[in-house]
Amino acid sequence: MTELLEPEAPVRRPIPLQAPQLPRWAPPVALFLSLAAAGLVGLLLGWGPAGIAVVAWVLFLVGFTGWAQAIEGRRKAVDRMFATLIWSTFVIAMVPLVSVTWEVVSKGHGIIGADFFANDMRGVLGETNIVTGEPGGIKHALVGTLMITLTATAMAVPVGVMAAIYLVEYGKRTRFARTITFLVDVMTGIPSIVAGLFAFSLLTLIFGAAYRSGFGGSVALAVIMVPIVVRATEEMLKLVPDELREASYALGVPKWRTIVKVVLPTAFGGIATGVTLAVARVAGETAPLLIIAGSTTVANWNVFEGRMMTLPVFIYSSVTTGGKYAAEQEARAWGAALVLVVIVMSLNLLARLLGKIFSPKTGR
């Protein structure tokens, strides 16, 4: 093409700025052709939709790259191949998200009703209570999740917030503070079941081997929550401008009142967001509760005494118990899963909203 542009200057080598390029419609056309080819062959040979999708993807990757190689050259072909691969990862990542959402909603919504929330599982074998004829429900699990999570929050938030205050306001750059910061990071990676074993070991050493209670679950969940709360609070406190603190000191306000009256309110939105995210995280936690809170069929409001059922443990035991009533149990598990997902997603949404509402106060 470049020769055509400068036919009168054959001696001087024209510089190659124009390069043959695939037209804009090339990617969709290539995609369509791959899908059509894979679909046709797939239907003839009786593959499922997943098989057709995989074959179409391979056809597109090879065919489109080859096409680019022929027209645009090696470097552009490599560029296009990696762009295809990189965008593919996004599609792949969406498959489980869409599938989980779809399955939970479609399998779970049928059983949801007033009875599902109002009843517990005492005396329920199949679909209904053998005495009253009422359908089984998740009241006991909702109560347990609520009480255990609240108790855990009541323990974790003061410790987490105060520790973050220590790290940012008092312990700046000391060896102790740096050790804590690092351990908090490591603590976020503690397996939740290990936190459960810790609570179990601690409480059974004190109260005897048969001890099971919601409180034990709260201890385990608090261990999981603390590092999340510390990290969130620490980040927020660091965002509070030093000028604000200095202005307060300059008025003769002591340091601790400055922290309580100036620093914490300024950082409130961020801390609330962090706490809400931590609650969302532990509300779906199963393993430690399975170990220390046990499971039961009736609602128990007392965290300090007796076994407590929670939503995640309910889902787990419903689906793994099996037996004669496996189908009914699985239906209830999907219903409980839908409720749990809605709760956790609402908490996440709430965290985002809190962050949005309060964010201007941080001045950033």
Binding site: D79, A93, V159, V184, S201, R257, E285, T286, L290
Partner: protein
Amino acid sequence: MTDTTTDQPPRLDDSGSRATRAGDSIFSGLASAAGLTILLALAGVALFLVIEGAPAFTASGESAYGKDNIVVYVWPLLYGTLLAAVLAMVIVTPLAVGLALVISHYAPRRVGTYLGYLIDLLAAVPSVVYGLWGRVVLAPALLPLYLWLSDNLGWIPFFDGGESGPTHGRTIFTAGIVLAVMALPIVTAICREVFIQTPRIHEEAALALGATKWEMIRMTVFPYARSGVISAVLLGLGRALGETMAVAMVLSGAGIITIDLIGTQNPSTIAANIALNFGNASGSKINTLIFSGLVLFVVSFAVNFVGRWIASRGEVKG
């Protein structure tokens, strides 16, 4: 405290500020105590696991679930734990790097932010829901793939499928996929963070030399982000090692050692094994299970420690 600010003349260093000092020292004491609590909690986790797990050292026979000694019991579980987690990372690493590139370099900026939210949604789904999904939906859906793999690629030891071939989808491979889905958001988030921080001047240097987008990423983003990606993968590995419920629900484990990923008999993992057996355990069996928990704690602590260390060395935020 407040009265010093009103009508009294300012005093610099006398007894009037005693209340202030008391308030300050109480408050700072509380704050340090909270910090100390965290240290103690972490130490406590280790200590109590050791106290309750130590008796298992001498366990054998009945209390070691029929095994000769504790090592013979824990080793296959540790193997399964590592296998499932490594499998998950093999799946996650390319996916997370690609996803992070979509968000940081390929998608328009505003779209990228929303795509990031979508990926974060994956992290918000509770593990027990993944377990339910993996057991009821994913495992049956993957069985045809396993049958195909064992028929066509059975000569690769990973896809041997055993003598009778795959009979169900609840294999270590399925467990690895579920773990991968669960670890994907955190690994992606850290990768995205480091990719975005690649200095613009280096990216522009590459583009100005006539690099294509991919060449620019290879020349500037990857070298810059190498340690960040390694630490992201290690942190994801730590997450996958300790994940309990999804594996407990998905995997049909039997404490064996095999590299066959799709067979009927699969290795189990420490965390899943504890969850499955704790309810029925009593006496010395509990010590045995707690000991296996201690092993898991040490391994995941080490992995997280190294991950954080690399991250802090490279000044990367996790």
